[in-house]
């Protein structure tokens, strides 16, 4: 066991668990943040995507021992009131079906918008490699294209244009 200190959604956390424990299971089992999902455990599906020090990563591949001093943001911390531009668009455009993969989709998409606020269609296709078995891809793509068209500086507002 190793004691690790890091931050999750702005809150300081201290954890004493096996150093190999993936961040995914740290979040789910130890911290009770179950919005981050287990889908494959091998970084294929992206359901476990979180932001680690500002980057979208697959948390099933991040062992606890590497988290010392890290800053983690999960779906629960993406916005304070569920009003991130993507969360609003996801609801407005009826993107989710079962919803299981959508936290990972949203965190991946939000990561893309951070690095590229107005992504091209090709950037969207390349960045969103998450698996959705329900087949929400057409709507994920449509919602992200809408987000990509947001004029600069609109922050969290949804454009209805």
């Amino acid at each position: 066991m190793t004691v690790i200190r890091f931050r999750v959604n702005g809150t300081a956390r201290t954890l004493d668990a096996h150093p190999s424990t993936p961040l995914l299971w740290v979040l789910r089992d130890h911290l009770g943040l179950t919005g981050t999902k287990y889908g494959c455990g091998i970084a294929q599906c992206g359901a476990c995507t979180v932001h680690l020090n500002g980057q979208a990563v697959r948390s099933c591949q991040v062992p606890l021992e590497t988290l010392r001093g890290a800053d983690v943001v999960t779906i629960e911390g993406l916005s304070r009131d569920g009003d991130h531009v993507l969360q609003k668009l996801w609801a407005e455009m009826n993107v989710p079906q079962c919803g299981y993969c959508q936290a990972g989709m949203l965190m991946t998409a939000a990561g893309l918008l951070k690095t590229s606020p107005h992504p091209t269609d090709a950037e969207i296709d390349n960045a969103l490699s998450n698996i959705c078995r329900c087949g929400t891809y057409p709507r994920v793509r449509a919602a992200l294209r809408r987000a990509a068209q947001q004029p600069p500086g609109t922050g969290g507002k949804v454009s209805h244009g």
Partner: protein, 755 residues
Amino acid sequence: MADTAPDTAMGAALSLSRRAFLLSVSATAGGMALGIMPPAASGADGAGAEFSAWVVIGRDDTVIIRVPTPEIGNGAMTQVAMNVTEELACAWSRVRVEFGAIHRDYLEKGVYSAGFLPFFAGHGTDRQRMKRALQLGASARERLKVAAATRWKAAAADIDAQDGVLTHKPTGRRLRYGQVAAEAARVELAVEPTLKPESDWTFLGKASPAKLNTPDIVTGRLVFGIDVRQPGMVHAALRQPPVHGGKVKSVDADAVRGMPGVRAVVIIDPANTKGAPIRPKATFTLGDTTAQWGVAVIADHYWQAKMALDALPVDWDANPAAAAFATVEHIRAAVDARLDKAEGRVLRKAGDVAATSGARVVDGVYATPYCENAAMEPLNATALVTADGAEVWCPTQDQQQAYWVVIDETGLPPESVKLHQTFVGGGFGRRTQADDVRMAVAVAKAYPGVPVKTIWSREECFRQGRYRTPITSRFRAVLDDGTGLPAAVEAEACFTGSRPTFHLTMGFDDVPYFTSGIVPNVLIRSSAQPVHVLNGAWRGPCYNSHAFIVETFIDECAHAAGADPLDYRLRLVNTWDQSWSDCLRTAARHAGWGRQLPRGEGLGIAISGWPQAAVHAMGTIVCTVAHVAVSPAGEIRVKKIDVAFDCGRVANRDAVAAQLEGGTLFGLNAALQEELTLVDGAVVEANFDQYPMLRLADTPPIDIHFDALSGHSRMDIVGEAPVGPVSAAVGNAIFSAIGKRVRGTPFSRHDLRWI
């Protein structure tokens, strides 16, 4: 680590067994006291006034609608709430939805299932179920009116109900629903109100609200089965025999005894299934849900359980029945030999196929492989088994099935079993049988008094599937020398798998081509090849294969006759429902059927119907046109898909479109790249690195067209139907593009190079 188990709740014998480390026998005794009191049948339940098991209205005007249908992503839960809302005339913004409980249904003698099975899959627009939901809404609305009338000393007939507000029309006085809910819940109506005519609907068919659970999805708050947390809960990782039907020979539990957090190793022996004390009312019966042998490690956290299970030495006895079927090629050889005999059971016979002759004969064998449902939420359930009862939280597709599986596995009387439906992270048929629930209960009953969450790893899900039933079919047609249409069709479908529940013929012998009389001579048979690999339900069970096979075969007939595939199909369905012709024409028109395309590109068309094709104005008919490009190197790219359909009418247009998009992609993935294989009788593919899934970048534009809707009064189910035709449409487009005929999926395994 502190033991948080409520030991005091258990008998001494159970505490003793808890101290054991290697657990192989269920410690649950039979003949227990009943543990669950029936909830109050009516009246306030703390949060609000309960009008029925379905409807609760709070003082703050919140309307809770309890729905017994699961929410698997198709919006069924929201649809049922919409149905109630239409008649209740409450404000949609105040509607909350919860899952009705199957144990309450049992205790209160069918409060959620009166007149129909409400649990399976969740067809929110089924005629009977819809009528019942509308009636529940109407009944609550009238009781609210009576309560307001009593308070105002007015006539109920003078009261209008709208958007959650009761208005006394003569005086304009108003009350909100919440203000009279408590009184209204005590009102008994002498006569049930008549439903308003559908032409007066203001919500159904008019609005397309998002699913009520969408806000919780996008914030990560939605509780799927895998997210359930109970006080003192521990976690289990499970492994079943690599070769289905195998047994545990030996386990070296001491090897993991000292690993962090590990509490116990459980051996699951199917002989420990107790059996239901009364005749089970499981939706699908229990025959396909029997426990498999297995080992599980229980630990404080899942990662600990998984690490220990990975380190646990287990010897398996292979299933001797698997020896003959080491690979899928062995199975295919047995299937081919069976088809060569042509001794299958006759499903349909007309005229005399043997006496039919013609110059042009079309003859082919078509096949689909094993596929895994691969719902994104891995299989799991949380179970607490005590001396007094069992409580289970699970993401099932069918509460009724899961409930009786728990009863059967524990031997407990139904009144002492509680089942909690959670949200479901995809089902696609895999969660209909509740074998997943049974295994979790089998683990938990060996560790009584503590809630145990059992998670199947992704690898376990892949290797312990209840897979798509592979179907291999031989089709032979003799074409009429004059018209080119089939004068005779002879066919046999051979189902691979020992489970006859999933030897379904929808989309095979019931297509209008073979039932309408347009083909005068028909002989259709089915047979089955038993194997050890377990088959089950996979979105649009068996239909998904039949539709591919029949529509590929018909396409071959069209080309053999020198006819345009669209025109040929139109002639074949000419004497059948207009709907089929309309769907064909609509999809073709939108796709630009008949236009010139560059070399290596082609359009393909296919049509099928689920769950009924041979009954007039029933089921959902889907026609799919695919635009496909095949590179000279043989790589397939689907450029565009157009879908036309007829399910009668739609209640929620956007929800229907989402289902058609998703079903099309589900079928497309199987068509292009899904196939499980065997080595030494065990499934090889274990995760998405070996079993590819379409990603966003691979997804073509999919246009769903509503202009073939007939407007017939039914609102039939739309989740399964689109899975059928897309594979044939893509295969037929490949033929159109490069002249190579693909008679089996996945197409990615075919050599499609054309230079």
